[in-house]
Assembly symmetry: C2
Homo-oligomer: 545 residues x 2
């Protein structure tokens, strides 16, 4: 039996586009004499469809897509993911289903049982868990159909669910397991995924065909990396990361085992490719081509510009230099050099006149109070207005250049440098931004060396340095990682050897700046815990603030 797996880049609610992609993949599979083709989870409507699932019309469109695919299934088995209606009045109105099509009709539907509801996932918001389990009979084989999380309770030290769907399906003696996934990227996810799949193979002794999405949906990035695992636990194949791909496998070959193909999983390279994918799909799926960003000469905007250039082409990235009276000469020079290295268009618009105009109108109302963060923010916000004006006039999407460390502690100006339609490196700690810069420069100096080596500064007052108000980034990032990614409380972090007062101060900064992050652009997610939909915190809260 020949099994095709189709790792595709879907688009939420683009039923026609998704259908056409699947039809093309079916053609490819047929041309290679595949008996069966498998698509990803909720492939008709894209993932995550979020509250569009509450619209009957949206579900009807998903169903129409399944019915259209069924017509193509006369000579090939098709397994597609789609929301389906729960006919029982009690419980949620929908299921998240894997649907087996053959002979021109729907032959079997297996609902998802384990509904991820944590981090960025909200599936129990919409779906009823499966309570019945069976296998698909196809050309003399029995197939266990699972959807994403269904296999993730195995190989997990702290399982989130009290049941495992494959335990139930085992009673029907399946020959192999298919898993339809929409499992988002983080820089450790490919390793974790292989660990979980191998744990399933070990537990059930069955080969697995695991089909993931590729491409990004706003902040959520799918890396692909679909897997075929032999019963001996060897990785028969791993599909490329961040790319669409259709490949066909002979089941007998997979059964044999002995082949182990793996791709490199280097953290910074993966983050780079994920962000490039994230930018490209954000623009492509929204129908935009051109980006704009402020280039300060610092490392954050330099790395953001480089990533945007890789995603959209440098000719589509408009850099704007907006020096103030506090900008150093080298800042302007470094920014210009970067734009020239890439061949990006750039404009220079000094903000002193605008700043003076604001101060002229405001100083009488400031009642003689001294220069403070207010005046710093006016500079950052003047730049925000300029960037948004150019964005509005020319239709470029403004990219936000804040990194995760400064977003965490609120070291940024709301409606100023925190402007932008998409946060490019908002899930990358400052220490990793440096590593990304080196990675980008691995073959030639694209980001000027001085941008990387000079001490970070917001340049909003004379001789300002980040280190005036923040601890060094190595320490800061370690504490933030413990608090944000590892959800460790103050006592546990202090026990790791950090200064008690420093930990209290940083955790407080994180919490009292929740109001700023609430109003930030979606953040391309590359870690296991990004700001945004995956980390939901009260604004009005007293704990650690």
């Amino acid at each position: 039996m020949k099994i095709a797996i189709a790792q595709l880049n879907y688009h939420i609610g683009n039923f026609e586009g998704n259908l056409n992609k699947m039809l093309e993949a079916i053609e490819k599979a047929k041309n290679q004499d595949a008996d069966l083709i498998v698509f990803g989870e909720l492939s008709t409507c894209g993932y995550p469809p979020r509250d569009f699932l509450e619209f009957d019309d949206f579900i009807a469109k998903s169903e129409a897509c399944v019915n259209r695919l069924a017509e193509e299934s006369r000579n090939i088995g098709i397994i597609v993911g789609s929301p389906t209606k729960n006919p029982v009045i009690e419980g949620k109105d929908l299921y998240n289903s894997a649907i087996f099509l053959y002979g021109g009709e729907i032959k079997y539907t297996q609902h998802k049982a384990l509904l991820p509801t944590y981090d960025i996932f909200d599936e129990y918001r919409y779906f009823e868990p499966a309570s019945e389990f069976n296998v698909v009979h196809f050309k003399g084989k029995k197939i266990a159909l699972t959807v994403c999380e269904d296999i993730w309770n195995v190989g997990n030290e702290n399982p989130l669910y009290v049941t495992c769907p494959l335990d139930e399906m085992q009673h029907h003696s399946p020959d192999f397991v298919i898993n339809l996934s929409a499992s988002p990227f983080n820089y450790r996810h490919a390793e974790t995924r292989i660990h979980v799949l191998k744990a399933n193979v070990e537990r059930y002794g069955l080969p697995m065909f695991y089909v993931n999405h590729s491409g990004a949906q706003t902040e959520v990035i799918f890396d692909g990396g679909s897997l075929v695992i032999s019963p001996d636990g060897n990785i028969h194949d791993e599909l490329p990361y961040f790319k669409e791909e259709v490949r066909v496998y002979e089941l007998d070959e997979v059964m044999k085992g002995g082949i182990n193909r793996v791709q490199p999983k280097e953290k910074i390279a993966l983050i780079h490719d994920a962000i490039v994918t994230g930018i490209r799909d954000y623009f492509g799926k929204l129908g935009f081509k051109k980006a704009i960003l402020g280039l300060s000469g610092g490392i954050d905007s330099a790395v953001t510009a480089a990533l945007a250039a890789a995603a959209l082409g440098p000719e589509n990235v408009l850099a704007v230099l907006m020096p103030s009276q506090f900008s150093s000469d080298h800042s302007v020079g470094d920014a210009e050099q970067l734009a020239k290295n890439y061949g990006m268009p750039y404009k220079t618009i000094p903000i002193k006149g605008i700043y003076d105009s604001f101060m002229g109108s405001l100083s009488e109302h400031f009642e003689g109070r001294p220069f403070n963060v207010t005046e710093e923010n006016i500079q950052a916000r003047s730049r925000g207005v300029i960037l948004m004006a150019l964005s509005n006039k020319f239709g470029n999407i403004l990219l936000n250049t804040s990194n995760k460390s400064e977003m965490a502690v609120g070291y940024g100006t709301l409606y100023g440098d925190m402007c932008g339609g998409l946060s490019v490196i908002g899930d990358v700690y400052k220490t990793d931004v440096f590593a990304l810069a080196e990675y980008i420069n691995k073959d030639q100096e694209l980001i000027p060396r001085n941008t990387i080596t000079k001490p970070p500064s917001a340049e909003l007052r004379p001789n300002q340095k980040d280190s005036d108000s923040l601890p060094d980034y190595d320490t800061l990032d370690e504490i933030l990682f413990e608090y944000i990614e590892n959800t460790r409380g103050p006592k546990e972090i202090i026990e790791k050897g950090f200064d008690k007062k420093l930990v209290a101060r940083i955790l407080k900064l994180v919490n009292i700046n929740e109001f700023k992050r609430y109003q930030t652009a979606p953040v391309l997610r590359v870690s296991s815990k990004a700001f945004g939909m995956g980390r939901r915190m009260p604004i009005v809260g007293k704990y650690l603030s």
Copy 2:
């Protein structure tokens, strides 16, 4: 038996504050010889604690609070809501529990079974549902302990769950039902709540003591309205809305029935009081006293200012008039009149100089393109910078003045008039903003009549009117209500008699402006479907856009 119900205004993560409130209430109850006192759901930590629940330290602090309350339970039964740990490794790590304390110790813990995971609720993100049910034995009575949603599967045409906890508890023949709730306000919620409670009384024939929170946590507002219902279905008592209250009831009196006390539930009055509560608690719980807002002479900023004055006192609301070359004389006059009517401090800061300064720097880059929304946005953003500068200098929180209709269709400037730490009327359709204005003026003309009667305009270009680009608000609001509150798709809305093209245009506007709402302040929630945490939509999506 005397039962006290304590309807309190908790504060998320303010363990000491919450504990002290509960200790005070226990004193009051003891002074009235109560046998038992009941608090709300998750009263130790406040509701919704969101991802703070993922911190062991946060749970430990909740447990410490329960243990401290247990010490007070030597002579009075105490029922408190708190997160508790799930000792079983499989499943979620926590339960949402009602804990019965007596004789100085924890006597019984009943976990919540039905975990709301829809709209603003994310409980399955954190909690394992209860699988065991029992009753509390106390002074010869058997008490069925339920938590909020546990009773909401009854009286519901489309029940969300396949089980009802009280069905299980019925086997133990309870004498009465206690429900610990944290059930947020919307302007129909008090009616719905009574409907659901009566359906439970009818189904089980038992009296109910229903204890809700009062007060607001960021966008979520709790109206209180706790209820005591007799077995005959009469409302023995309904506690006040939006206020803390401790009341003691003699069980025998409740059993008798025949008394029916209800409060008026007038939509606009409830919305008014809810928003005033929301503003007051947002400021109070964050430790702020003073607000700032831009006053345009239009109805949205006038109503926002009036609500802020009611919440914080007019002396704490700084109004800023920022006329441009497009502002009409009456706008400035109307705005001044409002400030004078309330005795609010106000400043006038014209923006023409600032606008000219931006245009001076930008016009060469605009390449001769005509005046369009870009220049309109520069005006709105200049005002945003001024307001934020005053906010930064003096520590006033900026109030956002956008209404729900304009937020829905994106009729507002991101980082301009969409600035602000809290959206006051972002869940109030324009037609209801007018009704609110009339309600505010019911005793005297506080909002100038001209502000209410003149045609709405953003005044960002000569002779601009909202009706130039939007349908009349009556029609717009009806279509939006069908789409947003009723989640009806285009076909169903058109079937109600609306123009096909208009419906398509409005739904498209709603969807393509998701990126703007993503970056908006939290919106005080007064309807059944507010923008923000209760409505989760993809930004990158093709459906209806």
